[in-house]
């Protein structure tokens, strides 16, 4: 009996745990496993993550969308680089988005995604991101998760301190990393100090449409402008840019641009700049740059060239720009949620320098200057500094905030995140990262209202963290729980390209507005085919337009004859589906570009040059139904001098 009862107790215990673990797998949080790290990042099948993370792809030129806390990858949004998978930059509709003053540029280096804000909080409308190489800023819609606009920046040479936003997305900024001759001219590089200037662009954003225009540029000394952040609350109206290479060197910068003990954070009073603009105190410089925008109604991108830009020179505009001395080649400049503290991360230092906005205004008022550079007043360091975070680590890069009085800074060289307290500047916790963290992200962490639950570390090097894949290894993100006193590592996940910078937002601000399909009723594409009855082929000289439709699971027309070698064929394919998650693909043999991937209700165009006589198949590339494998067709190509009649059909061939 004793034996039986102990057996029963054991069996009961086993089943008890079975119940617990069984329920946990089906989504019930019992609390019993709350100490288990895995359960904190586990999002059960069919359930949604709490946050979206928007992570830049760096040299991939793209931006990717992840869920947090799971670290699951949902979508890679093509922005600055062509993406054959989605036909982006290959189909006729999206090609103009990649137009620049240098022509079609199919790649860029995408660094910093920045969410739009209203009243200093993320509003889930758009994400802006900078292209560093051929200086550009893009705007991506968080309704369609598509790139809607790309604007090139004149007078710039590497758009790095960008595209940081003001409290109500009045402006996103674009400061040049590389100073260049303005206007461009053929001069010796050794004339750097004399001829090179740095342009800080303020891009006005239309509050309704998001449409961007370069409102003005501030013409600055030829330093390297690295990162930026806008003021908040009392400091709203100011934008802060870090600079390095205040030595104005043009070669071996790794040594020559690290000479000065202090470089500068440039504080730009953009409300003052607006006044000078209104007073006409600008110069209108001739230039040439390209603005590309997507029109949702016609489902096409358009490109325009702009010929002038308004430039404000600080020497004509007193009280518009001040320099805050900041040790040593600062990278990040981050403004706390109250707007009072401006944190400079001197990347060659061990300390962080925190400036006070109140003290800055006082120093300006009292003209407490340490001389000037090119007529721009340099504020007295001791008069503006609020505190120094001592020995936080090695190589501080970037700081975000949790809204609970703490700041978190990434340290690249010592490969760690340090948590410190605003006001007392004491370090309270630190956690290693694997390895070599660049930027970090807390959802809303650079806004007035951070959500201090998770922190994401964006690491440059992974070494032994994953299965090896030859010489090139994945880069990674790490999810850290910051809800308690001690930071806790929860998860590693690999990233697409190099994760330079990221933003996070509550899913509830974005998911309800996510578009399900394009309404056929609203499709004003000039080559749309809105019903299968209108499917047709038109010839105009050697240009052939195929007006094609798709629905599960056939093309109309799916047989085409009368095409000739040397024709220029445009397949305008309209997806007639009006339901969620039913895209169709279109691929034709020998196409020199890519496929089309057409969302429900959308029209896309693929250009095709038939090169040889014969009969060539085309088919749907996106598994659409049980009869997807039957979704195919043929196009007959005749000799250029043949008399083959132009005809097309689906099902029954028409009489000859």
């Amino acid at each position: 009996m004793k034996y039986l009862s102990s057996l029963l107790a054991t069996a009961g215990l086993v089943v008890f745990f079975f119940i617990l673990s069984g329920c946990n797998q089906s989504g019930q949080n019992t609390g019993a496993l709350s100490s288990d790290v895995a359960s904190q990042v586990y999002v059960p099948p069919g359930q949604h993550d709490e946050f979206y993370a928007v992570i830049s792809g760096g040299f991939s030129g793209q931006m990717s969308i992840y869920g947090l806390p799971s670290g699951r990858l949902f979508r890679v949004i093509p922005v600055f680089s062509v993406d054959a998978e989605k036909g982006y930059g290959f189909n006729e509709e999206t090609k103009p988005l990649l137009n620049t003053s240098y022509g079609f540029v199919p790649w860029d280096d995408a660094h910093h995604p920045e969410l739009s804000q209203t009243n200093g909080e993320t509003d889930g409308r758009w994400v802006f991101i900078n292209g560093n190489n051929t200086p550009r800023v893009a705007r991506v819609s968080l309704r369609t998760f598509e790139t809607e606009e790309i604007i090139e920046l004149p007078n710039s040479g590497g758009n790095h301190s960008s595209p940081f936003t003001t409290e109500n997305t009045e402006y996103v900024v674009a400061g040049t990393r590389f100073s260049v001759p303005i206007p461009q001219k053929d001069v010796t590089i050794t004339s750097y100090a004399e001829n090179f200037k740095g342009a800080l662009s303020f891009i006005k954003v239309d509050p309704e449409t998001g449409r961007m225009e370069v409102a003005f540029q501030v013409l600055m000394p030829g330093f390297d402008y690295d990162l930026a952040h806008a003021g908040k609350n009392n400091s709203h109206g100011w934008m802060f840019f870090t600079s390095y290479n205040t030595e104005e060197q043009n070669s071996l910068l790794e040594v020559n641009a690290s000479q000065n003990d202090k470089d500068f954070i440039a504080a730009i009073n953009w409300k003052k700049a607006e006044e000078y603009l209104a007073q006409g105190k600008y110069r209108e410089l001739p230039t040439s740059y390209v603005h590309n925008y997507w029109d949702e109604s016609t489902q096409m991108a358009y490109s325009e060239t702009i010929k002038t830009v308004k430039v404000l020179d600080p020497s004509d505009c007193p009280d518009m720009v001040y320099f805050l001395p900041t040790p040593k080649s600062p990278h990040g400049v981050d403004v706390d949620p109250t707007g009072e503290y401006i944190v400079g991360a001197g990347k060659l230092s061990t300390d962080l320098t925190v400036h006070s906005f109140t003290k800055m205004l006082k120093a300006i008022d009292e003209k407490n200057f340490d001389g000037d550079r090119y007529g721009i007043p340099v504020l007295n360091y001791d008069a503006v500094v609020a505190g120094v975070v001592k020995e936080g680590g090695l190589g501080p890069l970037h700081t975000e905030f949790d809204g609970k009085g703490y700041a978190y800074t990434s340290f690249f060289i010592s490969s760690e995140v340090t948590k410190w307290k605003l006001g007392t500047w004491e370090v309270v916790d630190r956690i290693p990262t694997y390895y070599s963290i660049g930027h970090l992200m807390i959802p809303g962490g650079d806004s007035k209202k951070p959500n201090g639950k998770y922190l994401v570390a964006l690491n440059k090097i992974t070494k032994d963290r994953y299965l090896p894949t030859g010489p090139e290894l994945t880069q990674s993100a790490q999810l850290i729980d910051i809800s308690g006193d001690k930071m806790k590592l929860l998860l590693d996940f690999p990233t697409v390209g190099e994760p330079h910078y990221a933003q996070g937002i509550e899913a509830s601000k974005v998911a309800p507005n996510s578009m399900q399909y394009y309404k056929l009723d609203e499709n004003k594409h000039p080559h749309a085919t809105l019903s299968e009855n209108e499917a047709r082929v038109e010839r105009n000289g050697n240009e052939v337009h195929v007006y094609m439709t798709t629905i599960r699971s056939h093309f109309a027309p799916d047989n085409i004859e009368g095409i000739k070698v040397g024709d220029k064929v445009y397949f305008h394919v309209t997806n007639l589906e009006q339901d969620f998650d039913v895209p169709h693909g279109f691929a034709v043999m020998g196409a020199n570009n890519a496929e089309l991937l057409i969302m429900p209700g959308q029209t896309e165009t693929l250009y095709w040059e038939p090169k040889f006589e014969g009969v060539f198949p085309f088919y749907c590339t996106d598994f659409c139904s049980a009869l997807h494998q039957e979704m195919q067709g043929y196009i007959r190509v005749s000799a250029s001098n043949a008399n083959t009649a132009l005809r097309w059909w689906t099902g029954q061939a028409p009489e000859m």
Binding site: L4, G12, I19, S26, S531, S553, H554, Q578, D579, A626
Partner: protein
Amino acid sequence: MKSITLKFILLVLAVASLSACGSDSNSGAPANKPKPKSMLAEEPDPMTNKGIGPIKEVKLDPEVDQELAAKGKEVFEKMCTACHKPTEKFIGPAPKGILERRTPEWVMNMILNPEQMVKEDPIAKKLLMEYNGSPMANQNLTEEEARAVLEYFRTL
């Protein structure tokens, strides 16, 4: 004796553990699970079966509303003709004479709720197989539009 008791207790506990999790419906399967019944056993009368969906009751006026039918024709031509020809079998069946074979509620539910219909309605399930698994696309018509299409079908 011991082993019988033990087996019984384990069984009870196992059932308890199952039911403890039973309240959780989000285990990956769709919320509405088709019941594994024989198709023959539940073959309903197509002239009384109203199908599954938002439409519970449609009252047809003996007179066809020509204005509504004209509107329905317009919707049909735009949204449906990629798969349906009015009077002959195409990708899907022809709607001509549909009300001699189905209830008006069934027709509208098939238009408005095709995903659930082809999974759960015995007639729609059979049709899906008859048409080689070609799905009835949900074209997201409004109830008003579906009603107009039904009126148009009466004119065929």
